[in-house]
Amino acid sequence: MKQYKEQSSTAPQDAFEYERLENVHPAGWRNPPPADRYSLVVGAGTAGLVAAHAAAALGAKVALIERHLLGGDCLNVGCVPSKAIIRTARLYADVRNAQQYGAHVPGDIHVDFPAAMKRMRGIRARISRADSVRRLSAAGVDVFFGQACFTGTDALTVDGAKLRFNKALIATGARPNTPSIPGLIEAGYLTNENVFDQTELPRRLLVIGGGPLGCELAQAFCRFGAKTIIVQSWPLFLPREERDAAQLLSDAFARDGIEVRLNTRAVNVRVESGEKLVDLVSDDFKSTVAVDAILTGTGRLPNVEGLNLEAAGVEFDKKDGIRVDDFLQTSNRRIYAAGDVCLKHKFTHTADASARIVVRNALFLGRQRMSALTIPWCTYTDPAIAHVGLYVREARERNISVKTFTIPMHDVDRAIADDEEAGFVKIHVKEGTDRILGATIVARHAGEMINEITLAMVAGIGLRTLARVIHAYPTQAEAIKKAADAYNRTRLTPTIHWLLRLWLRWWSPYRQASAGEMSAPDKSEMEPHS
């Protein structure tokens, strides 16, 4: 396990980078003189920023400490830059498939990787404005740059200054977990922390790890034109997701031209003649691949080092992070934790939600539980894989009888029109009821679609009600309505069906008789509408 080491960016220092750094860590920044006592936030990633803004808005005297860049991983080396380059990569994929859409692209397709990265830097700079130090200061937050180090249960030092606190939040995030492969460090490798600094597309790329980051970037770089191999130690990608979702992703990768090596481990790396040679093992099959760059995406480790948490009486584990209860309180009752440093689900929106819980629980004697949240997530591959709530396996392990309503995307008109038929909507309900336990969506826009299910779950809306919600036609989200309609059809038991037929048999002659008593309609009224 490596100690946190600040990596200096090798990205081109253009106007975009200048703007971003001016927002998230301005050169020449001077920390303010400390106030008497603070509501203190350590770490200015998503959780820290949300908590600092919320607490300040509610009238607390807030200090926010960041050792590197405001905005954390999400803004600087995570969601924002990755989604920006994924969008460009998808465009290249669409252009290559233009013929499939009945379109013609004249000439060869030339990939301008530096331009894609420049676009990403521009987007990152723009979004960084929302996280800027000036905005924090204007909100009344005292921002301190430097390494926080606890000196007791209610105090810490940063950059030589001593800060005391009534309540504190630790939100120091997580960092890439470097796999212990002999020769990897010597050969050099990329992680999310430096991959977005690249200005040149590697001709051949090996991605180690089939988790969300590895899958997203493997597909993006492949679509930019890198000959990409992805190795994953498990027999399926995204081991937590449903088998079908992982299988569809494997198929999509193969279509893109990614060389998929499942059930495979990288066991050694060496450099020869400027090439990185990586030895791979799959069961008893051994092989060596030659690549120009290696990207690792094998999980994340919480940032708990250097904080002197022992002095603060905060229990932690180097692998699982800071120990918190369901109210996100640590073993020191003054101190809470939120975000990647303590949570299993390391997502930006989870960090955001956990920070809001901490503000309520720490400052207003709240008793909000983390476990009460309904948390969706999405891996932004193409097709994307989104999930919320329970998996079938989890429900069955809890002895909940589950039934799944499945709609393949090839049954959805808009997906057919868009030529985006790979995928499905699966909604899990408690057997015999319409209560939604969870859902998995595989679709090009699964991340947008899952929100409807999340809303339904949080609001306690069942499939029966969802069936009454009119969905605009044609949309891919109509798949959700179709699943709800499928549920409704299962309510039509043979008995109910028999009763309905009985009713209609009785009602039809009556209606005909009534109609006969009325005067014959004008013929023109019976003409069909054109």
């Binding site: 088998r243 079908d244 069961d283 079938v392 069955r396 009888s401 499945t406 393949p408």
Partner: protein, 430 residues
């Protein structure tokens, strides 16, 4: 399709075992292709098919006994050291064996599912050949020996469920039998063992991975490829018997396979990829041979072709290839209708009166016919023989109902109802 045609098909399928056997050791080739090794799973189908042949008068009883004995003796005497060139280990056998020496080939895995098919075939033979002659007595003793020495518990490794395989070079493979699949027969045999039964809640742990889905209007225990809904049914009569899962769903595995067949038909009717030939009478996405882009003439085919692969519904892979001709007992009308119409449309799917592994109507050959898998695969022929027989006389099902190990395995898996209750009642009255 009339009874005579059905009989012709069944007999032709059985003929594979006569052509592909090494009479010296009873081993059967995996395929009819040149230099094919033996597949132990196919041997299990052959052992199950010999009683059918005796009943139908295609083979003398003595001949069937002799072939079965040769097979069982070979496996009893085989090298069980688990070395890379052995035949087996812990009572299991490597998936592919040299047809002559019986040694492991292709660095294949010690296969739990194919061993289960082999042992199921042996038990079928043991239940059929019940005469007190020295030969049939020896046959039954050999079956006992082979079954009792399989260390099913070992096959769990340290996991909650049975592993798919083991190799001397790397130990257990990284795959388990998770999600509904063809392995009920494996679990039943493993639970019924008097010597090395599975430990813990292995069956419950496996069924915890089941997914009960409503797809195309059918509620069923989901699995994509058709063969998953067929293979265990070749030996076990699942009509009316239920484990905990099926009791909860008010269904049984037989009915489930019928619904799975209907889902296949519905997929073919919808035909999302618009492949030639697909409709409600032309269906069957399953594990089968198929064309590849490397084949001469197909190198420039735009769509991706998958070769031998487990094709499934509704998520594929689907390259227009159809196979899996064995849903007869579950959906006789649909299966017979499809068999009739497909034969009319694609007479080339029968090669030497025997079903080939698969056809692909979307890839027309030079003469305008569908692409057809070359030669024959033993598993395809075995399942055809057994499923036609179960449809016609339920012979295999009846034999295995009387197998005490199958009964014990089913009970330990939580099955009850139907013929199991009737059998218990009749035994208690004796």
């Amino acid at each position: 399709m009339d009874e005579q045609t059905l009989d012709q098909l069944q007999r032709a399928a059985f003929g594979y075992f006569l052509q592909a056997v090494n009479p010296a050791n009873g081993l059967i080739a995996d395929t009819s292709r040149e230099n094919s090794p033996c597949s132990i799973g196919v041997v299990g189908f052959a052992l199950s098919a010999y009683p059918v042949a005796v009943e139908r008068g295609w083979m003398a009883r003595a001949d069937a006994v002799e072939r079965s004995l040769a097979t069982l003796r070979f496996f009893r005497d085989s090298d069980q050291s688990g070395s890379p060139e052995a035949t087996g280990f812990k009572g299991f056998y490597y998936h592919f064996l040299d047809m002559h020496t019986g040694a492991r080939v292709w660095r294949s895995e010690l296969s739990t599912i194919d061993t289960a098919f082999l042992i199921a075939g042996a038990l079928t033979a043991g239940c059929y050949f019940t005469a007190t002659t020295p030969e049939e007595t020896e046959l039954r003793e050999l079956v006992e020996t082979l079954y009792r020495r399989v260390d099913w518990r070992w096959s769990q490794g340290e996991a909650a469920t049975i592993r798919q395989g083991w190799k001397p070079e790397c130990g257990f493979l990284n795959y388990g039998w998770d999600g509904y699949n063809e392995s009920i027969v494996l679990y039943v045999l493993a639970l019924g063992s008097p010597t090395h039964p599975l430990g813990g809640n292995c069956y419950e742990a496996w069924t915890a991975t089941y997914q009960w889905e409503n797809l195309y209007g059918y509620d069923f225990l989901y699995a994509g490829p058709l063969f998953i809904h067929q293979f265990s049914h070749a030996w076990i009569d699942f009509r009316g018997i239920q484990d905990r899962f099926m009791r909860e769903k008010r269904c049984d595995y037989f009915e489930n396979s019928r619904r799975a067949t209907e889902v296949q038909r519905e997929y073919a009717r919808r035909n999302p990829h618009e492949f030639a030939g697909y409709d409600e009478n032309c269906w069957g996405l399953t594990a089968c041979d198929g064309p590849t882009n490397q084949m001469p003439g197909l190198a420039y085919e735009r769509r991706r072709l998958f070769g031998y692969a487990a094709r499934g519904v509704p998520y594929g892979p689907d390259d227009g290839t159809l196979g899996g001709w064995a849903s007869l007992p579950f959906a006789p009308e649909a299966a017979l209708g499809a068999a009739h119409i497909m034969r009319q449309r694609y007479p080339e799917m029968l090669f030497g009166e025997r079903y080939t592994s698969s056809i692909n109507p979307a890839l027309a050959s030079a003469d305008g016919g569908a692409w057809v898998s070359a030669g024959h695969f033993g598993l395809d022929q075995g399942i055809v023989v057994m499923m036609i027989e179960n449809h016609r006389t339920q012979l295999i099902w009846r034999l295995m109902r009387d197998c005490p190990y199958v009964g014990a395995g089913l009970r330990r898996a939580g099955f009850r109802g139907g013929w199991m209750d009737r059998l218990r009642l009749s035994r208690s009255q004796m």
